[in-house]
């Protein structure tokens, strides 16, 4: 069940422990695995003559603290690995019964490693009234569960808006906790729902907004952002139409070398969905290997094939779940009126052809 990578990481950890233990230092040492303080090694001389069963570790700053859960091992000293890593900036005591033998402080992370916001999607400075979601991309893995208190939306430089974003627990982080998806409350965007009737749409046309990401947001090691991040935008009309791929403009490569395929979109689309909804197919419908790049504020994409293009027909396959900024996908609009809207499409994907001469 263990992946190859994790085996090698375990092995690396094992070697690091050996390296640390081979040092014959006389003080308690921290066992690091990346940036995590995964354990401590208590030198043999500190615990000579003491029953190993009586030894335990406690958080020092907390007077009512209990023995920390974890495993002890004998490896050139006494090694303690807590269930979760030690916390940066905290001091831990080694006890025999109620008697403190020694202590160690886990250093704070390097100030130069403080996280920052890289960008906020959508990239545009004019956004539709029914904007559905935003993505915040950070330079470092961030602590979860803090978005509600650290993301603020201010209208016309004065009013801080409440209940604009959907409070989701758990929050929608990517695997390494560097990209967070936040939803503007769909209950307020969908017309006629109670939250919409009571509070109105989260954004109003022709108004100016500032999204502020507070410096107080901390990363996984407790470090604050280097500074606040701000994005201002103006709100335009509601977008009640599905993206129309017929209006995309294809600039096919002129010949069969590795030239770029460029496609201009008729409106900005969801950045991360664009990344996963596109593929290029050859005349047999098989995927062409290559690399996509999204530019022009998510209004254009390019494709460079890994191998040379061949002469003949190709197609761009677009999964129907691709959305615009208002959550309208190729098959149906986000806020569908069951009485007047047309029946939603059922296709899994749409295709647009092009030819290499």
């Amino acid at each position: 069940m263990q992946s190859g990578l994790s085996k090698w990481l375990n092995l690396l950890f094992f070697v690091l422990v050996l390296t640390a233990c081979n040092n014959h230092a006389s003080e308690i040492r921290i066992i690091w695995a990346g940036e995590q303080a995964r354990g401590i090694t208590i030198p043999e001389k500190e615990v000579t003559g003491i029953s190993k069963d009586s030894i335990h570790i406690r958080l020092l700053s907390d007077s009512s603290s209990s023995n920390i859960l974890g495993d002890f091992k004998n490896k050139d000293g006494l090694v303690f690995e807590p269930v979760i890593p030690f916390t940066r900036g905290m001091t831990y005591g080694v006890y025999s019964g109620d008697k403190k033998i020694s202590s160690i402080t886990i250093p704070f992370a390097d100030e130069n490693d403080a996280p920052k916001v890289i960008t906020v999607y959508p990239l545009q400075d004019t956004l539709p009234e029914n904007l559905l979601k935003m993505y915040i991309q950070f330079s470092k893995p961030m602590k979860e569960g803090l978005s509600a208190e650290n993301v603020l939306l201010i209208k016309n430089n004065k009013d801080t808006l409440r209940d604009v974003f959907l409070n989701l627990q758990p929050e929608l982080w990517n695997e390494d906790r560097t990209v967070l998806t936040i939803w503007l409350d769909p209950g307020r965007i969908k017309r006629d729902l109670q939250p919409n009737l009571k509070l109105g749409n989260p954004l109003q046309k022709n108004e100016k907004y500032e999204l502020i990401i507070s410096q107080n947001w901390r990363n996984v090691h407790g470090q604050k952002l280097k500074k606040d991040h701000s994005k201002t935008f103006i709100v335009s009309s509601r977008d009640s139409l599905s993206p129309i791929t017929e209006q995309w403009k294809i600039h096919p490569p002129k010949n069969s070398n590795k030239e770029l395929l460029t496609v201009e979109l008729n409106e900005p689309l969801d950045h991360f969905l664009l990344m996963e909804c596109l593929s290029i197919r050859n005349s047999k419908g098989l995927p062409v290997k290559g690399k996509f790049e999204i530019t022009d504020n998510d209004m254009r994409f390019h494709f460079t094939p890994t191998d040379l293009w061949a002469r003949g027909n190709y197609s761009i396959r677009i999964l129907s779940k691709l959305e615009d900024l208002a959550g309208n996908n190729l098959n149906k609009v986000f806020d569908r009126d069951t009485k007047t809207s047309k029946q939603p499409g059922t296709k899994e994907y749409y295709e647009k052809g092009f030819t290499i001469q």
Partner: protein
């Protein structure tokens, strides 16, 4: 040079050691012994024989773990004040650095299991036994796992080759040999619901669900399920699900199969501005009641008899509440977690007005 040789020998020793600890032992549930690579814990639920199912959102997987806690135990009431501080202390940190992500009572031993996530994402499972907090080992344990099916486009990966899609598991359950998983994707605002036979094979069913949100007169709603349970109503097995703004919706379990688009029957509207947290059942005067814990509303309870009697579906717009009659328990507000202790009691993790997070047991007199 000498030092290098030493490291080389130790490296070989390490490889040998790793090879020696490769999973090898087989069990009736298809478990192997090893270290489950659990990346996060969003939801917990027990199956039979003390088997704990763990929903891993970050790893897009479900794990089944043999807890070896399968001895029948007495269900004694659980009451612990400031449980978050006590858990943090046992883990060597402070409460700001942990998130309690779910809890589940082992129906056999009646011990309470709590999942926690450290600030850097490291997950942990703790067992509460008579106020004593113990760690549930995730090393060298018997386990199996299944990756949740998800369709990625060919190029749906970032520069480091990882898929960009993020899913969270909102709830997990076990019913009649199947692990049931409700989820939410970060891309489309809709529900995924999976039914996975256990012991795990390659098979899993994924149905798309649609319900009519009666506080929403005219427009279609495909929202993510927040919590669910299963139950027999008028002799038929149903998935009983609830969503933000609290509609209560029934889906026939036998229809939830791959490729099926199933329309649910909305049997109650239990109030907007609220997210349901957990659902379970208790017995009172010989009748079964559905108990629902909420973020903004008090704990609500619905008699199954009333759900059975409500044969229609809400299709007209309603303001406030409608449909099947339910009652609220005014003292039980701000519920963070809830699970069934036995037929007459539930364990509740509740945020008190003074900010304290406490564990308490509510019996069918108070409910």
């Amino acid at each position: 040079m000498k030092k290098n040789s030493f490291y080389f020998v130790m490296l070989l020793a390490g490889i040998t050691l790793l090879a020696a600890t490769k999973p090898s032992v087989k069990s009736p549930y298809g478990f192997t012994k090893g270290n489950p690579e659990i990346k996060s814990i969003s939801a917990l639920s027990f199956g039979k024989d003390g088997i704990l199912f763990i929903g891993d959102s970050k790893g897009a997987s479900v794990f089944a773990l043999e807890t070896k806690d399968a001895k029948t135990g007495n269900a004694s009431a659980i009451a612990i004040e400031k449980i978050d501080e006590k858990i943090a202390s046992a883990l060597g940190t402070t409460k700001e650095n942990i998130n309690i992500t779910d809890m589940a009572v082992n129906p056999v031993s009646k011990k309470l299991y709590i999942s926690v996530q450290f600030t850097d994402g490291t997950p942990a499972i703790l067992k509460v036994d008579n106020e004593k907090i113990e760690a549930v080992s995730l090393k060298e344990v018997n386990f199996s796992s299944i990756a949740l099916n998800d369709v990625y486009a060919e190029d749906a990966k970032d520069a480091r080759g990882r898929p960009m899609r993020v899913s969270t598991i909102s709830d997990l359950g076990f019913d009649n040999g199947k692990v049931l998983v409700s989820g939410l994707s970060n891309k489309e605002f809709s529900s995924t619901f999976r039914s996975i036979p256990f012991p795990f094979t390659d098979k899993q069913d994924q149905a798309s669900l649609e319900m009519y949100h009666a506080s929403h007169g005219r427009y279609e709603t495909t929202s993510p399920i927040r919590t669910f349970t299963t139950g027999k109503i008028n002799g038929k097995d149903y998935l009983i699900a609830s969503y933000t703004c609290t509609p209560l919706v029934l889906y026939p379990l036998d229809e939830l199969k791959s490729g099926m688009h199933v329309k649910g029957r909305t049997v109650a509207e239990m109030g907007s501005g609220n997210t349901p947290i957990d659902m379970t059942t208790i017995t009172k005067n010989g009748e079964t009641y559905l108990i629902m814990g909420n973020t903004a509303k008090p704990v609500s309870e619905v008699n199954y008899k009333n759900i059975a009697a409500f044969e229609g579906t809400l299709t007209e717009r309603v303001a406030g509440t409608a449909g099947t009659v339910f009652v609220q328990v005014p003292t039980l507000t701000k519920v963070l977690q809830m699970d069934k202790l036995d037929n007459t009691r539930v364990v509740i993790m509740q945020k008190k007005d003074n900010g304290s997070i406490d564990l308490m047991t509510a019996n069918n007199d108070t409910l």
